[in-house]
Amino acid sequence: MYFYALIGVGLFSVGLYALINYAHLLRKILALNVMGSGIFLILIALAKRTGETQPDVVPHAMVITGIVVAVSATALALTLMLKLAAETGRAELSEKDRD
Amino acid sequence: MNWNTWLPVLVVISSMLPGLIIFGLAEHRVRLRTILNLFGAVVKLFLVGWMLWGVYHGQHFETRLMLLPGLELVLRAGPLSLMFITLSSILWLVTTIYAIAYLEDSPNRSRFFGFFSLCVTATIGVALAGNLITFLLFYELLTLATYPLVVHRGTEEARRAGQSYLRYTIFGGALLLIGTVWLYSLTGTLEFAPQGGFLSEIGAEHHTSLIIIFALLIAGFGVKAALFPLHGWLPKAMVAPAPVSALLHAVAVVKAGAFGIVRVVYDVFGVEFATDLGVTGPLAWLAAFTIIYGSLRALFQDDLKRRLAYSTISQVSYIALGVAIAGPIAAIGGIIHLVHQGLMKITLFFCAGNLAETLGIHKISEMNGVGKRMPWTMAAFTIGAFGMIGAPPIAGFVSKWYLGTGALEVGQGWVLIVLAGSSLLNAAYFLPILHRAWFRDPPNNWPHEHDFGRKETAWPLLFPPIVTAVLALAAGILASAPFSPLEWGQIVAQREFYKP
């Protein structure tokens, strides 16, 4: 099961990399979602270490909570991105034109 | 309920409350504002008189309020405090009258008088502070309350002067804060201890720390006391209206700094301990240098108020000098100069204000023959100027006398040379003014003359400088009378400075 957890770590890192690397907000939002999935994977993969067939269900509940939070945040972020794009014409965070 | 525990607070409140009310008053409520101002000033004077009598007869006035565990706000009326607050409250009354007339019909008077009262409140607080933290509190409050007064004119120049003032004072406040906290962390108390300070027990252990603390505290107070090289703000602050300059130089800011130096040397370190540490010597030299330096700079100023400002730099250092000489007689000289310089300098500034307000004169080069046009004003100015030079029997003479004999007493003869040099320089920059005013022919037109009918100027403008000039004269001539500054200074030295 460590394998899944490792992949979780990998997803987290890849997501973080994309979050840093790309300017487009939509991709940043995607990256955050991937990072979240990675964390969920770690949570659930390690929950199987009970030594029995039945895994520990508390992380499952946590992940469900996390998924809902993630979708809420994604929705908010997408709307914000669209508003920003409507204002500036680009779905990017401009670093320079702060006045 | 014991009145004695409330009186110090009441004295503070008696100017704070009118000030706060005045902030809320509309601009046109002139009469109410005047009544409030004068009422506050008179009440304060009465309360101070009460305390003066009480302290003379050995009563104690003390208010305490817990601030932090082990750290209290203490307001205590000792002889030294009373000396300062008596001066402040008398001069406040006079200056208020003057300011009311001076600022007639100018904008933002509610704001002005509000901060004016707060400024006095802070000064009184500084005077009454019974420990270093209380002192610090009111000292910073004073900075804040005077800043609006300095920039009151609202011109670009005023704004810059205000910024400069703040740069210096906030910096000084920061040094003071470090010193205070450090001291507190070493001793666990900040209570002023008359007759010897509270540090001598830990002296051996923290020798170097204490020297640095001393330097920090003196630097912090030195900013307001305009000790060289921390004096830069004072001449710039001259853009303020004349009553403000008068108050700044005579009572509030500059004196608070000087008073702080007195407190540090006598009530925190204790003069013997300070001498043992070897810190009074440098302080004396610094003060002496400032005395000469200020006078030299004053020589080259054409702007009357600037010349007076540099004169203040020089004169206030007499107080520091008197303290740093570290002898009982010199100490008396220092602290009575606190009062004497106040009386004389406020007279000079009132007169400068009168000249500006009545004739539009700001520069010394414009003062030709002004004595003929405004004889009373210039008479008062003359008394003030001669007092500054140290001519007998005006108050300044008494101060110098005690400083001189005090220095001789502890074998520091060099001080006499400083005193002489300073007097010489004082004469060099004051006498030409007098000469111009009295003996040159007046021009045909004054720069900007106001018409006051037959009088030389409005009487509320004339009355304050005359009163203060008479007081300055009386403080010199009647120096041996009971309740005179000198007598009171001796009481202070007896009760607070030196172990009987």
């Binding site: 979050l19 | 006398w401 004999t405 006498l431």
Partner: protein, 425 residues
């Protein structure tokens, strides 16, 4: 009439002219200059020796009169009466205006106080008042020459007052009181030649003793009659009186200093005689040289007394009459000369060209001013410039604020997290 009342009269003689000096008062009275002298006249007429100390006054000063001083007082009253009379009938408006009267009365009060003072502080106070008052009289309505004289006098006055103040401090340090009865003796016992020289030079400056005679000579050229008339009687005589009363005569001898002073006095006399013979421009100048001669003589006597205290005891009582006679004679002579002689006119050339010394001082002033201020200004501007330049340099701000943006930030987050974890381990 008891002694206390007499004592009060002493104070009245001083304070009355002082009060009258306020313009608003004397302008309402007829003949204020005469009225002001009246209390002093009364004092001269009161019999016996008396004094009054006021405990509230500074250093508990006291005024007193005794036999010797009565001579001086009478003399003073006389010359002031002469002075008042000389102006009373003058058609000159300016010498009679309010300011002039004020200075007249101030000087009068100072003079009376100086005569009546019985301790060092009172003497010092009143002589200062007198000095500045006399300066005022000297400078009133004057020409350039007098102006110069007044300025010289002023500087002498200030310097003298400073020296006397130092002397006073020394005396105050050694003594409990500052009465004339005790101070010279105790100061002599303290063998303080510092005190001696401070006092001597101080009064020498005030009296215009050679070589500090410059102001005196110039002052005699003043077009104002009044100051010239009072010159010998007021500043000079009072300075001599002061020297006599302040100097430390007593058991201990200041042999070296005494001889030095004695020689100084002789040189002064010699100088005066030489000038007298060679450089006589006007009869008033003659009086100036006579004055210098007389003061030289006086100084010689003082020096002798200092060197030989035992001799001093014998002849010191002659000095006051000497002063009186000298002053009365000189004043009368001045009056006569001044009436008969037109005041010498100063050439316009001289008017324009200020003295070289003066010019130099002004030059130095300017130089110092420019040098100092410009230095300061230039240094300040460069300072500001440097500061502004630093403020503008943005490159060091870039890593944190502007360009690095999101990616750098998050990398920093990662790095921070890593380092925290690493540090934590």
């Amino acid at each position: 009439m008891n002694v206390t009342t007499f004592g009060i009269m002493l104070w009245v003689a001083v304070i009355f002219p002082l009060l009258l000096a306020i313009p608003a008062l004397h302008s309402r009275l007829p003949w204020p200059r005469y009225i002001a002298i009246i209390p002093a006249i009364i004092v001269t007429l009161l019999p016996g020796e008396f004094f009054l100390a006021l405990p509230w006054i500074i250093f508990e000063s006291e005024l007193a009169i005794n036999g010797e001083m009565r001579w001086i007082l009478t003399m003073t009253v006389m010359i002031w009466l002469i002075a008042a009379t000389s102006t009373a009938f003058s058609k000159n408006d300016i010498s009679n205006d309010r300011t002039a009267t004020t200075f007249f009365l101030l000087t009068l009060a100072g003079n009376m106080g100086t005569v009546l003072a019985n301790d060092l502080v009172a003497f010092f106070c009143f002589s200062t008042l007198m000095g500045y008052g006399f300066y005022g009289m000297l400078i009133q309505n004057s020409n350039a020459e007098t102006h110069r004289a007044a300025r010289y006098y002023l500087w002498c006055l200030i310097a003298a007052d400073l020296l006397l103040f130092e002397a006073l401090l020394l005396a105050g340090f050694e003594n409990n009181g500052l009465h004339f009865e005790i101070v010279p003796t105790t100061m002599a016992e303290a063998s303080s030649s510092l005190y001696l020289w401070a006092v001597f030079i101080g009064f020498a400056l005030k009296a215009g003793i050679w070589p500090a005679h410059l102001w005196l000579c110039t002052a005699f050229k003043s077009p104002n009659l009044l100051p010239v008339l009072l010159l010998s009687g007021v500043p000079v005589a009072m300075a001599l009186l002061g020297a006599k009363r302040w100097l430390p005569f007593g058991e201990s001898a200041f042999f070296d200093s005494g001889i030095l002073i004695l020689m100084l006095g002789m040189v002064a006399m010699l100088y005066a005689l030489l000038k007298f013979a060679t450089h006589l421009s006007s009869k008033l100048m003659l009086l100036a040289w006579i004055t210098i001669l007389m003061t030289g003589l006086f100084v010689t006597a003082l020096g002798y007394g200092l060197a030989y205290p035992s001799e001093w005891v014998r002849y010191q009582h002659y000095l006051q009459p000497f002063i009186v006679i000298f002053v009365v004679c000189l004043t009368t002579a001045t009056l006569i000369f001044a009436r008969s002689h037109a005041v010498p006119q100063i050439s316009s050339l001289e008017l324009q060209s200020k003295s070289k010394l003066n010019l130099n001082i002004i030059k130095i002033q300017h130089w110092v001013n420019n040098k100092y201020l410009q230095l300061k200004l230039s240094s300040r501007t460069s300072w500001v410039k440097t500061a502004k330049r630093y403020q503008r340099i943005l490159f060091w701000q870039k890593p944190f604020e502007l360009t690095i943006g999101w990616s750098g930030r998050i990398t920093m987050l990662v790095v921070l997290g890593l380092s925290l974890a690493w540090l934590a381990s």
